[in-house]
Symmetry: C2
Subunit: 373 residues, 2 copies
């Protein structure tokens, strides 16, 4: 990291001309921003005991206090811009109104929309996500979970994709509310919201078959990622449904769902001594991009020589060269629904275990075409 300049000081024009910084006339704003009023002060102003003020301020317990008194307290609170200190509240109630949110990597284009959905929905309910990146590393995941628990999060939302027995199961066993995103666990013990991977792959395969492809390859993600396994299984199933026997030589399993792995797998596929496929179903869009690179290197054109279909319809999938045919997943909604499930679970810890599957759809662009010849 190089820094070009580094200016010290900067207060020579101190006083900075406080030109009517009164915001855009929200009125209460100034009051709200000055902050740090305490319950005791509100109580004194309203002429009641802090306990009473607390009840009046709390929607749940407001019925316990006289309407008149309540109004007085509310007024007092408003005039001094009171807002309850969640730290103090949390100490007593043992709830932080905070949700541990585990994702592999925020930088993966798949997750920002999911997280945004989570944030938006949680915000409505006055909860705040605490986001941790695990980089798909079980060790980091464990550390993050511990850190988050130390912060007393009220529950977990996990978009981290490992499918083997893990910390989250353990957590749920301890009574911690957990909702899985983008994956399910074998046995289905944990609530989840995920895309219907098998259905998505069916769409992809059906599309290729309809175009006339017979030799269709699948570059799969690792089976340790539940999406990797589900898409793999979906592929085999879909091929059979189409009356094609999947060729083991055309199914390669990678160690991750990244461009680099896509490149590696695709190269391996084309270097094999079997005849190359006319179409590739990639585990996701990133893997598909890896295919683009290798095809390019080998002088093969997409889609004329080889068709490619991705998975996720991540941002900019329509802008690649060629625009990528892929399976669209409603990522934002996935985040929203997961947040809702968790909220439900927080409200009622005995809520039934549910698994929501989001319907995928096929987006046909320019990376698929009938096979040559």
């Amino acid at each position: 990291m190089r820094l070009r300049r580094d200016i010290e000081g900067g207060g020579k024009e101190a006083g900075v001309a406080r030109t009517t910084t009164d915001g855009d006339g929200t009125g209460i704003a100034m009051g709200g921003s000055t902050a740090n009023a305490t319950l005791k002060e509100v109580a004194r102003l309203a002429g009641v005991h802090p306990g009473t003020a607390s009840r009046a301020l709390n929607a749940e317990t407001r019925e316990l206090v006289n309407d008149d008194t309540a109004r007085r307290v509310l007024d007092a609170a408003r005039t001094i811009g009171y807002s309850a200190n969640p730290i103090a509240r949390g100490l007593k109630t043992n709830r932080s109104h905070t949700i541990g949110t585990l994702i592999p990597d925020l930088t993966n284009p798949l997750f920002p929309p999911v997280v945004r959905g989570i944030q938006d929905r949680l915000e409505e309910a006055a909860y705040t996500p605490l986001i941790a990146n695990t980089d798909n590393d079980p060790e980091r995941e464990r550390i993050s979970v511990d850190a988050l628990r130390a912060r007393r999060v009220d529950g977990f939302l996990a978009a981290t994709a490992r499918s083997d027995g893990d910390i989250l199961t353990e957590l749920a066993g301890l009574g911690v509310p957990v909702v899985l995103i983008n994956r399910q666990l074998r046995g289905g013990a944990l609530r989840s919201v995920a895309p219907d991977d098998r259905a998505g792959i069916h769409l992809a395969v059906a599309h290729l078959v309809e175009l006339g492809h017979l030799r269709i390859a699948h570059l799969a993600g690792p089976r340790s990622l539940s999406t990797g396994a589900a898409r793999y299984d979906g592929f085999v199933e879909a091929m059979r449904d189409a009356g094609l026997e999947p060729d083991p030589d055309l199914i390669l399993v990678g160690n991750a769902m990244t461009e680099a792995e896509g490149r590696r797998l695709c190269a391996e596929l084309l270097d094999g001594d079997v005849a190359p496929p006319t179409a590739i179903v990639a585990a996701n869009d990133l893997v598909a991009l890896g295919c683009y690179d290798v095809l390019d290197e080998r002088g093969l054109r997409c889609p004329q020589d080889v068709s490619v279909v991705g998975f996720n319809d991540m941002r900019f999938a329509d802008r690649f060269e060629p625009p990528l045919t892929t399976i669209r997943i409603p990522h934002y909604e996935m985040g929203v629904r997961a947040a809702e499930l968790l909220l439900e679970l927080l409200r009622d810890p005995a809520a039934p275990v549910r698994h929501e599957l989001l319907e995928p759809s096929l987006v046909v662009r320019k990376s698929t075409a009938p096979p040559a010849g």
Copy 2:
């Protein structure tokens, strides 16, 4: 949002074959995860008063207690897997170890790397970012700030881009630690880390001039965004430096830095009755993409007919058609540095005001070429 299936229950295979879920042998792990030990328990186990235990556990105050006693306390803490309740601690210390992080929109590809940098650096210091999206809406920003303050964040990191007198100045005036990201404020009263926008635009213009372009257009962002203003100014300056008088007809200012605005501006530019430019400097990569669309529509080829250069080098900029020539900004480092500045400020509230400028670099790809003819 449509749900395809919705399976209730799911525990038919209950018992889920607890196959050695002992993690990967971290040892302490299990202890750490069971959690919820309190200071009082540690103290009892170590045979000391909770107050003493507190001092022993705290590196700052450990010297106040006998080495022997301290060791006993530490051991006790370790064996019952104690981890301090930050809520309780925060109540007394009035610090939440939490940082309000304002960004316009997580979904904008510019921000994930910045946020990741923030998270990583803050995590090392045991701070946690609380992320809020403002959508560049002052109203939303105010609400977010209030919510964050209600949660008693210890400081703010703001990558939200407005340049007019705003809440953050107000906040800083109240003594709240604030560090700006990706922008500076007029007067420079607030600490900041930002790319050197002017230098970046200079790079872009110089590159085009070197290729032989004379009629260079700029599609600018709104002046209310500090990056918009800085790049605009940089453009005018760079043109003059190159001995070219910037043509007002070729400088258009948009209302946002998005693909849609890029399209609008580019269309307007080409529809004007002045001769079209041979090159366009876009306010950022998204605006450049908007240009791609319009050029495409008009049957103009990039770069043969019109060169385009973006700004940011956001993810996938190398994969567009054509691969985009752009100015690279070290986004991740920007997040890291901002976090560091804030940490410094938290440690020493009297730390000098600093403005760090990150050095941009030119990335030449396929969207620029010498002008035709």
